[in-house]
Amino acid sequence: MNKRVQSILLLLIVAVLLLPASLVHSAAAPQQQVLLLFDSLAIGTAREGNVNELQRQLASLNAKVTLVSLDQYERGAMAPYSNVITVINAPDLAIANKSYLGDLERYKGQYLHIGYSPPASLKKALQLTTGVMYGASADLQIGEFQETGLQVQDMPYIAASKAVQAYGTVSFRDRSLQVPYAVSSGKYTYVPYLVQGNASILAIANVLKDWLHPNVSPQTYLVLKEIYPFSDLELLEKTADELYQDGIPFIASVRPVFSNTDFPAMQRYLEALKIVQSRNGSILVNAPVIMPSINSSDHTLQEKMNGFINLLINNRIAPLGIGADSYWSYDKEYANAGMGFFDSAVLFQDDKQVLYMEQTNTSKTFASSLYSLPLDFLQSVQHKASKAMPAFPLNTAITVDFPQDEAELENMLHSLEQYWIPFADYKQGAHRVVTDTSTISSLQGVISINGQELNIDYTPETVNDDFQYTQEQKKSFTKLFNVQNQFFIVVIIISLLLFGGLLIIGNRMYRKKYMK
């Protein structure tokens, strides 16, 4: 890495460190109750995943979300919420739920409509005319980010509006048409288009941030995922070293271990994590893998997580939060027993396999929650800034799978240099982890365990491989049994010989008598 890049990155980090703590973190932001309504999850279509995207973005904005399908909406359900979002993914179906339509007319709070069929009241307030683009190439620009050449199908757009505020622009090149991405006026906001995986997620993030917490300055963090006890630990140490040398603070989301924690292999894992911590790496406990055979009476999660966090603490490793698939925050058991120790989380996009134990429609909120974006996503978006990546609209975790070999490590470092992202140090924020015996807290770069400041400097130690894997069973009367064994062996051999002899004699007598 050339020195110029290094010095710029260092400067950026210093700038981040100098920011006041209240700005660094969204912890101070007030919590809002959001009702998220949807007509369909659009499974199998281009819009699949957009509701989940909203859930994750709202979580990072510290909103307590209640997710309800429009079919199940009941009269009066909207009233307690300060903000309501409706996502309409089906282009051809009108909203049939009369309770919803009636309540919406009377609703006083902030209303955000996403997708097709905006309600009449919203149209009237925004003086909105909409259209649908059937197959086109579009350029989306929002803030300093843009994505060009988006291939869109059946895309609703704002044909005309006299709203007070417009967000971003969508340009249909073939048709020489430029329209706003989203518009807002008073209590109404309208976003016609949201698809997971393209720049529209950054665009909606801008809208949501403005809608909920316009004054918070978001930060970007680097998160290394897929770190297992059997990952290449030398490579992990090397990665930590390289990032440290490049002045990039990072977060390692490490897989928990619930058994065999006294094995040398576990000790080596802990050693590697201590080195990671000493290289300006913050530690997150990654949520355990859920096996498909869900047993609703298995309530061991709390005990297991507690044990693992305590094990880390005993080894002077201070986890500052949890990294989990976002659906964990919508499951009572996982949210309470698994995430209950932490007030900070990074919510990843859900894996293909979503296995609830006790699903709930209201999310668990965290004082600090990061929205995650994979590093690869950045390939598809461009930005206007000359070199450094502009700030993302939300507190964001850029995630990278831990490299499997040196070549992948080099690639990762190269990409990070290329994107010029000013990463913040997770320790600078306020985080708190409480187990049955200990409390970890971090603020402005200082980590304390039970009130005592943790010195993260660490000199590597060698793990002793000499380990008794199987406990020798306690034996009694061994001598007596040995003697007894030998005695019986002799007796049996003599008896066999005797019987053999008798058999031979008997056979001969038999032959003599009958076989003449």
């Binding site: 297992y228 059997f230 897989r255 065999n260 292999a265 055979s293 869900i294 609703s296």
Partner: protein, 512 residues
């Protein structure tokens, strides 16, 4: 090599006059009655899904139509499933002869019940009919030419063993054990009928070959079954003089061997991740005194020692069994062959794990899976105890060490050796068949144990050892019947029978 020189005086076939009270009919009817009560009257007895069903049902055009199906895993039996109404894009995830029966049941279901909802009891009905026929054939082969009193005693014992719901509960499930059980009994009964010359040899050969083929291809674990049967069935070539029969037997043996090998080759390809995971964590590593050295011997990163003893059925784990890291650095380093080699090189560890295997080798119905529907109001994983005296006694009373299995084998073979020697001396190939059958059944049972240890360690072992527990029952039942026939008769049945079909010298030392 000679064929039986004497023609039977009684024509093989149905003896209509003895039909109403034949022991075979009594036992078949008894088993039918108990099975119908257990499986077809409320509360229905079945088996809960342990997560394996998807492999069998999606490829056959069924799907889980309950929204909360996941919550029933292990706990509750589910009797209805959805039938795909549109093109099924799920290719066969598993090539198993079980599909034949599932497809047949779906056809019957569509014809008689619904084209949208599949009721698993249609499958249970097909299995029950086949099972009752198999039990009839078995008891007929065993009790043929026995006195009525002896036959009756054996029939009653047969009802207790084969009517046990530990066995029949499998019919209301998508586990391949149902097919294994029925086909194994057909193999045993047809071979025994050939030995006894009870029915037409050609017909019995057909039953033997077809049931062996279905048995071998019912699950990958049964690959050695085809090979074992093929090897031990070689003497069958010479039981008759007619060339057609000999060619047929030879062809059948070749076919069985080929099927066994083909199924084996399929194992290495389809050796699914869960089993491969367990083969290492619950097998090789479990009894290893130094897992790090063991892993190094396979060329695997010693950090994986942390997975020692780990089981997929633990709800919360460190790694997903299908994760790329395991595919790349773990599964790719070992297979069926290298694990077998490891056990051969470490007999001490094999012995230790065999004892663990023996601990559950006598369990017919695994306790991990519930037997009732949730609507029956029973607790999660509740077990049915309806007509399961035999399985309970077997589980409680049999000594659970591999040493016992060895002693049992020695005892059984020892008991039948005299009659076998007589048959060898008299060069009566047909008379030798009983020993061949017993050896085959024992070998098939042992293959069940070995394959499950090598293939999946001790995880789920109670279910994997089903083939052994069934073989144990068949052989022990045959031995008991022989003992009863001899004791109750006071003298040898065949030698006192004037219509004997066998030469006098061939009957020396032969018990029924």
């Amino acid at each position: 090599m000679t064929d039986n020189p004497l023609k039977p005086s009684l024509r093989p076939g149905f003896a209509l006059a003895s039909l109403p009270l034949s022991p075979a009919l009594i036992s078949a009817f008894g088993v039918l009655l108990i099975t119908v009560i257990a499986l077809f009257t409320a509360p229905y007895v079945g088996m809960a899904d342990n997560g394996d069903y998807f492999r069998n049902i999606y490829s056959n055009g069924l799907y889980f139509n309950l929204p909360d199906y996941d919550s029933k895993y292990f706990g509750y039996f589910v009797k209805q499933y959805g039938i795909y109404q549109y093109f099924n894009e799920n290719g066969a995830t598993l090539d198993s002869s079980q599909s034949l029966f599932i497809k047949l049941a779906i056809g019957l279901n569509k014809l008689l019940f619904s084209s949208k909802v599949f009721d698993i009891r249609f499958q249970a009905a097909i299995y029950t009919i086949l099972y009752v026929v198999a039990v009839y054939m078995l008891i007929e082969a065993i009790t043929w030419k026995m006195s009525k009193k002896q036959g009756l005693v054996i029939a009653v014992i047969a009802i207790f063993i084969f009517g046990d719901t530990g066995y029949t509960a499998y019919f209301n499930s998508f586990y391949s054990e149902s097919v294994v059980m029925i086909m194994m009994i057909f193999v045993f009964a047809s071979w025994l009928s050939i030995y006894r010359k009870r029915y037409n040899d050609y017909a019995m050969l057909a039953v033997l070959v077809i049931s062996s083929l279905i048995l071998t291809t019912s699950k990958q674990q049964n690959a050695p079954v085809g090979m074992v049967i093929a090897m031990l069935a070689v003497p069958l070539i010479w039981i008759r003089r007619d060339r057609i029969f000999r060619y047929l037997v030879m062809g059948s043996i070749a076919l069985l061997m080929f099927t066994g090998i083909a199924t084996y080759l399929n194992i290495s390809k389809e050796f699914v991740n869960i089993n491969q995971y367990h083969a290492m964590t619950r097998g090789v590593l479990k009894e290893s005194t130094n897992p790090e050295t063991t892993l190094k011997s396979f060329g695997i990163n010693d950090q994986y020692s942390i997975l020692k003893g780990n089981i997929y059925y633990e709800q919360y784990g460190t790694v997903d069994v299908n994760s790329p890291i395991l595919e790349k650095d773990f599964y790719s380093r070992y297979g069926f062959g290298s694990i077998l080699k490891y056990y051969v090189a470490n007999p001490g560890q094999l012995g230790a794990i065999l004892n663990i295997a023996a601990d559950s080798a006598f369990t017919i119905k695994p306790v991990a899976m519930g037997n009732y529907e949730e609507s029956a109001g029973k607790v999660f994983r509740a077990q049915s105890h309806f007509f399961s005296i035999y399985s309970l006694l077997k589980k409680t009373l049999v000594p659970k060490t591999f040493g016992f299995i060895l002693i049992w084998m020695v005892l059984i073979i020892g008991l039948y050796i005299p009659s076998f020697i007589v048959a060898v001396k008299s060069r009566n190939i047909r008379r030798m068949q009983r020993m061949a059958l017993i050896l085959t059944t024992i070998a098939v049972g042992l293959s069940g144990i070995f394959v499950s240890i090598i293939g999946a360690g001790d995880a789920d072992i109670a279910k994997h050892e089903f083939l052994f527990t069934l073989s144990f029952d068949l052989v022990t039942f045959l031995t008991f019947s022989s003992v009863i026939a001899r004791r109750l008769a006071g003298s040898r049945q065949i030698s006192s029978n004037t219509t004997s079909e066998y030469p006098a010298e061939a009957q020396k030392g032969v018990s029924i």
